[in-house]
Symmetry: C2
Subunit: 113 residues, 2 copies
């Protein structure tokens, strides 16, 4: 982009957009699903379940960790990742904002188009 206008938006809009971006890739959705099911938390096993190289998966894990949706601990030779449900549920509830706005505008049904 010629100019980065990101910072000219409201802080909460930026925060929500960043969280959405974190889950805007099928690999990261797939990772979250695996972790939610507790199918596994070990990096190597996650790699096996995805059509991506180890380096790429590690990068996706890092992104999810940076935004806070998952947390990871090193367990000897391997590392263990888990969903941070507090952050995750908070994220989901952010979407409620839209529904609330709509109710305040008393619409949902009678939209203008």
């Amino acid at each position: 982009m010629a100019i980065n206008r990101k910072m000219e938006f409201a802080a909460d809009e930026i925060a929500l957009a960043d969280l959405a971006k974190a889950i805007s890739h099928p690999a990261r959705i797939a990772i979250l699903k695996i972790l939610a099911q507790q199918k596994s938390c070990i990096c190597g096993e996650i790699v096996e379940g995805l059509p991506l190289a180890q380096a790429t998966v590690s990068q996706h894990l890092k992104e999810l960790k940076t935004i806070g949706l998952i947390k990871g601990t090193i367990e000897g030779k391997t590392s263990c990742y888990c969903i941070d449900w507090e952050v995750f549920n908070q994220f989901i509830s952010h979407f409620g904002v839209f529904a609330e706005l709509a109710q305040n505008a008393s619409t949902q049904s009678q939209s203008c188009c």
Copy 2:
């Protein structure tokens, strides 16, 4: 990216990621907020409320329309945009999937890290 592995993921994972991508930009969050509040539905007024050029806003509106989150109709000289609540609510409920998976794994609390 060297190779596009997107299509090697499950269809529902791709769909959810695409929806998340649609709201992964503060401008698009801001647009959805304006529409939810029914502050306005006219393109020109939306442009006024954002720190972006008309061409850029039009492009963001198009993305939201392509994914189905909003619908637009031409009203004479101006165009009118509205949130498609059916799609929107469906999208939100998709996130419930994670919570369900977690409950099936009967965890949320006792994570491994």
